[in-house]
């Protein structure tokens, strides 16, 4: 049994537990500081008028900064410290799920640590996966990390308001990703100006069940 096989086994158990409880889990990966937490905050806010029960599992090497931000949004949240581990893994998610009330939950956001290299080796059992990068990381992020981008079908390119200031063309990033992953979809976003939030919710097939 390889280490990846062990991880897949644990991830599958998480997947089944979530399905049994009718919870849609979304794995949010990305570069350090790309806007993962901000995007999740905006989606939570956008879904407030709806009847959606939302929870978050928030991974960081240390501290609970992002976990506190999610609590402030009024959702259930669990903080996971990965410490010296490369990134979040299925066993940590399994333990985190035990601290959450899954019966009242419809949607679970799992925010990984900033890491574009290791997550492919550590599936967590989510239903959907999204990578969040930002233009301020430069134009070559996708082609420098082919493994994760070729196997993840949704990418958010955030902070497009900064494109001019960092001399980056978002279209180059979009083109590199299309070449690497013909099935992949890109959402351009600027969290500060609320651009791309609805497009992201749509791409994640998250609908508002009550009001709007």
């Amino acid at each position: 049994v390889t280490s990846l096989e062990r991880e897949l086994e644990l991830a599958e158990a998480n997947y089944h537990l979530l399905k049994e409880n009718n919870v849609r889990a979304i794995s949010v990966m990305g570069a350090v500081g790309s806007g993962k937490t901000s995007l999740i905050e905006k989606m939570i806010t956008r879904l407030k008028p709806c009847a959606t029960g939302i929870g978050t599992i928030c991974a960081d090497c240390a501290g609970d900064d992002d976990h506190q931000r999610f609590l402030a949004c009024g959702v259930q949240s669990v903080s996971v410290n990965t410490e010296d581990n490369c990134c979040l893994d299925a066993l940590s998610v399994k333990h985190a799920l035990q601290s959450l009330s899954l019966e009242t939950m419809d949607l679970l956001f799992i925010e990984n640590v900033g890491n574009l290299i290791c997550p492919p080796d550590f599936p967590v059992g989510a239903e959907l996966e999204v990578i969040v990068i930002s233009v301020s990381e430069g134009e070559s992020v996708v082609r420098k990390h082919p493994k994760i981008f070729s196997q993840t079908d949704l990418v958010v390119v955030n902070k497009i308001d900064l494109a001019g200031a960092v001399n980056v063309s978002p279209q180059v990033i979009v083109g590199d990703y299309a070449q690497l992953n013909p099935h992949g979809k890109v959402v351009l976003a600027d969290v500060f100006h609320n651009r791309g939030i609805d497009a992201l919710l749509q791409a994640l097939k998250i609908e508002c069940t009550t009001g709007q």
Copy 2:
């Protein structure tokens, strides 16, 4: 023998080889897209009038984008693809050193992949280490990665021209680092406007041996 002990042994062999050849090696680590390559390019340009023989070892998961940029600066360079490995390691550096002409070299920049988690477990044998982060990664980068910041004594906080646009105070980052690492030194930089290049060269004790 632990895996860290094996890495230290390899790193030490690299260290001695470099010392025998009078090469000062500087390990440049940091977040994805923080400005590592741009800073090295600027330092190379700044040192052009000097008699300094410069080389680079350039690590990326895939491709040779940054290696090509260094070649364009007129220095010797070796491209290392880390592929599925978390980050650059001492064995890859050992092999890279074999492709470089060390006799003509005074200064070697080793650019690691963007990773703020794993490099502490993979020393490469450099004389000095510097972490490059940028304000666009947010205010909490240092406190979220205590291991690497507590053991690295020089940090560049780059892209300070963007601080307002990302709602980040560089002083918060400086303060978090001072708390974590009382020996540490910070250089504030804005590569686009050539701010911080001389301060960084000074912090790295790189002097111009001819002219200015």
